[in-house]
């Protein structure tokens, strides 16, 4: 009887080799092999640290983006939000310097500013999208323009620089670490692990996927849809703040060109990692691999001269499109 099939038939279908699951991993492995063959320094400690630390900013943001996209949303504003938060952070720290003096408190104040600003920015996006019911694409397209213009205005068209004395104090947050692992990498790893667990094992992750899959079904199932969607934007804002905290000590400045195209790189990483753009399914570990793939491409092109580094964008583009084709294949196969 069919009823007993339910209990006894193992998940054969899922066990089959699935390109959608293993695709990103294979692509990453292929890139590593290519990189190692082309340049012996590629797998060196210095290069690996460099690649991972640089991808940490986008990576931290992309983890948050995974939840936004999985629940059927989108956030185009994260790049300019990061620039704005960085600018704000630098202004606040510089302004507090005379009163607080050079020391940890100023740095902490700066960090707090970044987190609070990020959360508020995410909250504003969230309110406009969930309470007023405006398309996420439109809201965040608007806020993207607003933050970009605000940071340009704050910097008066130029560059906002962190006071030199603070820079020396703050630098280690990007350049140091523990046990030889740089702080940005550690933070990225912690965010990714928490994100992965939250996506797979927490109610929040389950609700995100349910909402992305069918908003109405989630609502009729007593899920607080607006609250969950709001939370995804607030968390993303918080992570933008966190990424900025790791980013500012690297250059010690912010300008109109800070964080340009980060939003697209974050979204691309999410998609390459196997999260469905229209929502309903998210995979944080995939996003992490997506982020690393994207930065490895740039890195390999820089290390070798077989292909011009100017083609970086083209190769990334091809990978993104390939990833989406693989997703679609899965959808239409029955």
């Amino acid at each position: 009887m069919a009823a007993t099939d339910t209990a006894t038939t193992p998940q054969r279908v899922a066990r089959k080799f699935d390109l959608m699951v293993w695709g990103p991993v294979l692509a990453l492995a292929a890139l590593i092999v290519v990189g190692a063959l082309m340049n012996p320094n590629f797998l060196g400690y210095a290069n690996i640290t460099n690649v991972l630390a640089r991808s940490a900013f986008i990576g931290i943001i992309a983890v948050g983006m995974t939840f936004v996209i999985a629940s059927g949303g989108l956030d185009l504003s994260v790049g300019s939000m990061a620039a704005f938060v960085a600018g704000l952070m630098i202004l606040v720290m510089n302004a507090a310097l005379p009163t607080l003096g050079v020391g940890i408190p100023v740095i902490l104040l700066g960090m707090l500013t970044a987190i609070v600003a990020g959360v508020i920015a995410g909250f504003i996006n969230g309110v406009l999208i969930t309470k007023l019911g405006i398309e996420a694409f439109i809201v965040t397209l608007g806020s993207m323009g607003i933050y970009r213009s605000l940071v340009t205005w704050l910097a008066d068209g130029g560059t906002l620089s962190l006071d030199f004395s603070l820079r020396t104090l703050y630098r280690p947050v990007y350049y140091d670490g523990i046990l030889g692992i740089a702080w940005p990498i550690i933070v990225f790893a912690v965010v990714a692990i928490i994100g992965e667990i939250a996506m797979r094992r927490s109610r929040f992750g389950r609700y995100c996927a349910a909402i992305g899959s069918n908003n109405e079904v989630a609502r009729y199932s007593s899920v607080s849809v607006d609250r969950v969607r709001m939370a995804t934007y607030v968390i993303l804002g918080l992570l933008v703040g966190l990424a900025t905290i790791m980013y500012v000590p690297r250059l010690g400045s912010a300008s109109a060109s800070t964080g340009v195209l980060w939003e697209l790189e974050a979204i691309a990483a999410v998609i390459i990692g196997g999260t469905v753009l229209k929502g309903g399914f998210g995979r944080v570990w995939g996003t992490v691999i997506g982020v690393i793939i994207l930065s490895l491409i740039g890195n390999i092109l820089n290390l070798t001269d077989a292909v011009s580094p100017y083609l970086n964008g083209a190769i990334q583009g091809v990978i993104i499109i390939l990833a989406v084709i693989l997703q679609r294949d899965k959808k239409t196969r029955t």
Binding site: R219, Y220, S222
Partner: protein, 507 residues
């Protein structure tokens, strides 16, 4: 007897490694209405899809006018006059009625679309079906029965030689069904071959010339409809006697606790001043025509729509419910009639669907997967949910099994008061019996149930008391032996019921 126009011979079909059709044969003849009946998951929809080119057979032969393997896909089948109406709607939600009906075969004048002509033809088609939906209305604004009528109009406009309909009447009222059957008879007279499924056996008796009965992927009976009674059909389908469909009614004591008291509930645009009491251990029916505001009223009560009320009391405590989550907190839960659009996540597995509403009870910080699996195992057993394997996407399950899963999902959050909208839509008679028994069991254990139903027999057979709604208001209330077809219909149509009415609740 004339030659079959479209037939299956020894057709098998597997999904993955699970075979769901075990070699079935079926012959459709011109000028004949053929009914295909069977339990949920028996393979009716699968067989129909194979007939019409939507699915291929794993082995066996489809033949059309004597030619084997006639269609490479559904488009080719349709071009040759084999048209199918699917169990679930297959319309483009954002397009208008007219655009849907002419999708892919738009009429043109020169290089431009001839909107006028298409709208006029749409009007004619819809008028034939007594359907008042405007040709320019967007599909997502239509009621379920209007959507079904559009599906039917679309099929009629194809001038089908073979018309295959998968549960066309599941969302239709009696009157609408009658209109559809007139069209079916006209088609039969023109010499078309018609195949349909239905879980309403009286319809099968009424219109089908021949009937094929399936059970678990096999054909168990084939023959003229006239040779069989409804009870015999049911027994052949289910494999046991189901003539006793409804469990004995309980007796709700006069002084039973009022668990839910509603006063002057108004859902703007849908219903006005709805007041009623619900007692512990009671099954309250809500009857009325489609569009009388039954669903919207209950959705308003549960915080799914904006609504106002002078008083809502649960267990004697005044409450104000603005979100479904709150309602659930008070033990009040609504089970939707729209299982595809509002009930189930079609691209997720049974487990994720089952626990979605009661997820709070699975684990503390992280979700307890083992407990979820256990709940699924219990639910599949208790509700007899049959799927080809447990990781199947819910969208690939048979309609009736989806419905059982939806009921299981709602029950998992252990509501004290449950409102079930169309509990047995698309469910086979054996399962119906199980669901009725389940609902009565709930009531007997002290819970309270509100059943919204368009099926008169269900209201009469199952409920202790009935509210009849008409045009957004309560037209009357019947209880005990007064619950019968005539007074309900009279109230629903706006006439006074003959029997004495108890329109007002004792306050």
């Amino acid at each position: 007897m004339n030659d079959p126009i479209l037939s299956l011979t020894d057709v098998r079909r597997s999904f993955g490694e699970v075979e769901v059709l075990h070699g079935i044969s079926l012959e459709l003849r011109a000028g004949e209405v053929h009914a295909l009946i069977g339990e949920n998951g028996a393979g009716k929809s699968t067989a129909m899809k194979i007939l019409c080119g939507y699915l291929s057979a794993t082995s066996g032969v489809v033949s059309f006018k004597g030619q084997a393997h006639p269609f490479k896909d559904a488009n080719e089948a349709e071009a040759k006059g084999v048209v199918m109406i699917h169990q679930e709607f297959n319309l483009a939600d954002m397009l208008s009625v007219e655009e849907n009906i002419f999708l892919g075969r738009e009429l043109r004048r020169g290089i431009l679309l001839d909107k006028k002509a298409m709208q006029a033809k749409t009007r004619v088609l819809l008028d034939q079906l007594n359907c008042s939906a405007p040709a320019t209305a967007r599909i997502d604004t239509l009621s379920n029965s209007d959507k079904q009528m559009v599906e039917i109009a679309k099929a009629l406009s194809r001038h089908a030689k073979v018309l295959v309909m998968d549960e066309p009447t599941a969302v239709l009222t009696k009157t609408e069904t009658a209109v559809l059957f007139e069209q079916v008879e006209a088609l039969r007279a023109e010499g078309a071959a018609i195949l349909f499924t239905s879980h309403k056996l009286d319809e099968v008796r009424q219109i089908a010339d021949r009937v094929t009965i399936m059970r678990d992927g096999d054909v168990v009976h084939q023959g003229p409809t006239a040779d069989m009674s409804e009870d015999q059909m049911a027994e052949a389908m289910v494999g046991r006697d189901v003539s006793q469909l409804y469990p004995p009614k309980g007796s709700v004591p006069q002084d039973a606790d009022v668990v839910l008291k509603v006063k002057n509930l108004t859902v703007p645009g849908y219903s006005t001043d709805i007041s009623f009491d619900l007692h512990a251990g009671e099954i309250l029916g809500v009857s009325g025509m489609i569009g009388s505001g039954r669903t919207e009223t209950m959705e308003g009560l549960c915080g799914l729509r904006r609504a106002t009320a002078t008083q809502v009391q649960i267990n004697g405590v005044d409450v104000r419910i603005t979100a479904p989550k709150q309602a659930l907190g008070y033990g009040l839960c609504y089970l939707t009639e729209d299982r595809k659009g509002r009930g189930l996540l079609l691209d997720k597995s049974m487990r994720e669907n089952l626990t979605l509403q009661a997820l709070d009870t699975f684990g503390s910080i992280l979700i307890d997967r083992a407990a979820e699996e256990a709940a699924l195992a219990t639910a599949t057993k208790d509700f007899d949910i049959r799927a080809s394997h447990k990781d199947v996407k819910v969208g690939n399950m048979s309609g009736g099994n989806q419905q059982k899963l939806l009921v299981a999902k709602t029950m998992l959050s252990a509501p004290q008061i449950v409102i079930i909208d169309e509990p047995t839509r698309g469910i086979d008679i054996g399962t119906k019996q199980q669901i009725y028994e389940f609902i009565r069991g709930l009531a007997n254990s002290g819970k309270s149930v509100i059943v919204i139903s368009s099926e008169m027999q269900e209201i009469i057979g199952l409920t202790d008391r009935v509210i009849v709604m008409r045009a957004g208001r309560i037209a009357g209330m019947l209880s005990g032996h007064d619950i019968a077809e005539e007074p309900i219909v009279r109230l629903a149509m706006g006439m006074a019921a003959q029997t004495e009415l108890k329109t007002k609740e004792p306050v």
